[in-house]
Amino acid sequence: MSGFKKVLVANRGEIACRVLRTLRRLDIASVVVYHEIDHDSPAVRDADEAVLITGTPPVSAYLDIAQIIAAAKSTGAEAIHPGFGFLSEKAEFAQAVVDAGLVFIGPPASAISAMGDKIESKKLAALAGVTTVPGSGDAIDDPEEAVAVAQRIGYPVLLKASAGGGGKGMRIAHNDAECRDGLVRAGAEAKAAFGDGRVFVEKFIVEPRHIEIQVLADGHGNVVHLGERECSIQRRYQKVVEEAPSPFITPDVRKAMGEQACALARAVNYTSAGTVEMVVDRDRNFYFLEMNTRIQVEHPVTEMVTGVDIVEQQLRVAAGEALPWTQDEIQQRGHAIEVRIYAEDADAGYLPATGKLLKVRFPTGPHIRIDHGVVEGQEIGASFDPMIAKLITFGADRDKAIEAMREALEQTVVLGPVTNIDFLHRVVSHPAFQSGATHTGFLDIYSEDLAVASATSDQEKLLNVAAALAHPDFDFRYETPEPAATIGGWRV
């Protein structure tokens, strides 16, 4: 590749490892920044160079623009890949990178700011001809005004913080009282979390599906989309299972969604990879939600069905290359599913879990991809997101991808903190999931079906015996003499 010689990855964990993999394949030297807490992590091990950054709590190190730019300068990196989370959607960071004479591997700062504000981005989307959910349009801080809007568009409504994300600062209201209360609470939560308490009101879509379009744009005016991902299986507005293509939308709807997503990207002079998130109702009407101006956690499913390495395209676009294909040349082939393995107790309200990864073994196979950034012995703490790994399977069709996922989950061994691996297996095994009847309420509606099953008596026997034979409480200094043991205390 004629582009960069050295790139710095301003992230940690699995996405850092993911970006490093493509850098290695393209013979680009790599640098990662890391906080002391991550000094034994695979990302630090996999990179050609690693630069220590400091901060308390650890997350603040990865948010420290000055330290990260200094690390790029000192190592001679020409460009910075932000991954996702942390600084990836901070326009200020993208601008600071450019101002330092480096290349930001992502969209221009102006596109990040344009899409970063939920209210502004919705206005821009509407101007670009993208369909949007009926709502207040502007931020509202008067509960009575919120009630008036809610009555105009009809209940239920969603009260959503402008700066919110990941479920923070969101409330559903079914009546005037809940609307008043929800406005105040969503605002307070967003104010505390993001320092911006503005809230807007919009129509709450019943049985919504979360379907998003992956777009790629270069600096030469070319914009293409790589089709959709459906991410309707969510807990607390966070995605758990993602797949491509969606089992729900038709070729016509896909085409219309793709065209609108590309129109929005053009409207904000977008470059690099981005995702236009849409909500799709029962009748396949789709509405713009937001645009994520970075690579996404679930990008592997798109890579599996299109054969495109999205990180590679981000690098090429950042280096000034043009996209190598037109829209017609992009095909979706087969089906891919991704599950997010979290350290959490799904059977106890998705309670986050912590602890040391005592034993880790991921499955391998021709239809399996595993993206992770953990090692055995690593402590899963509360400092960062509790995602341990992403497991992705591919199949010629959806049924085969599901079957591969069931097998892969059965072979995934993560012992230490409680994980959601068994829960994910129950989700992808559920008849409603298998038939494609998914929407964002799936986990709530089927919570009873998805409850953990107890061991059969045969399993119980084997498990108790294995545990007893392994546990030191049963290690005796003096062993019972063999003959006496054999006869169980009886004298013959």
């Binding site: 505390a192 034993k359 993560v414 012992l415 297996h425 026997k461 084997l462 015996v465 007893a468």
Partner: protein
């Protein structure tokens, strides 16, 4: 050496065993079983009365974590005698139901609180949660500090023990 083993929080099973040259005799709820646990690569094979199953396992203090039958199992190994000696009044302490960060503390040592009153607000997994008093009483100690993080089960607010007469 009797221990109670419970699988994934289920009912306890009484287990005792006698080791032998090639395995052990295990009594599970009084029933005798011929058993063995043999290494196999980085893993193990457990055999009970002639049936063998491959397992991955690690011991973590009082827990044995097993991957078998395509699932993960958490088995607690408990000494019934030891458990009987525990039993301090736990309801004096409001403990963290999940790891997180303290957002707001509404009470201070010496305050009188009533059952259900919000003591503090914590945030975990991007959700805020109110921690409420389990009973009426007086706050003896507040360990939670705004902005500081805590682990699962950490004491957040401790109430003064109840008077003898009330207890």
């Amino acid at each position: 050496m009797l221990r109670e083993l419970s699988i994934n929080g289920g009912k306890p099973n009484e287990v005792t065993l006698t080791r032998r040259a090639n395995g052990a005799r295990v009594w599970l709820n009084g029933k005798s079983l011929e058993a063995a646990l043999s290494p196999s690569g980085n893993d193990w094979v457990v055999t009970v009365d002639g049936r063998s199953v491959p397992v991955s396992l690690v011991v973590d203090r009082d827990k044995v974590l097993i991957h078998a039958f395509g699932r993960t199992w958490r088995i607690i190994v408990e000494d019934p005698a030891e458990r009987a000696m525990l039993g301090a009044n736990q309801s004096d302490v409001a403990k963290a139901p999940m790891p997180g960060v303290t957002v707001n503390v509404m009470v201070a040592a010496g305050d009188t609180v009533t059952a259900g009153q919000t003591l503090l607000i914590i945030e975990s997994m991007k959700m805020q949660m109110e921690i409420k008093s389990s009973r009426d009483g007086e706050v003896a100690q507040v360990d939670a500090r705004v902005g500081e993080s805590f682990t699962l089960g950490a004491p957040l607010v401790t109430l003064a023990p109840l008077e003898e007469a009330e207890a």
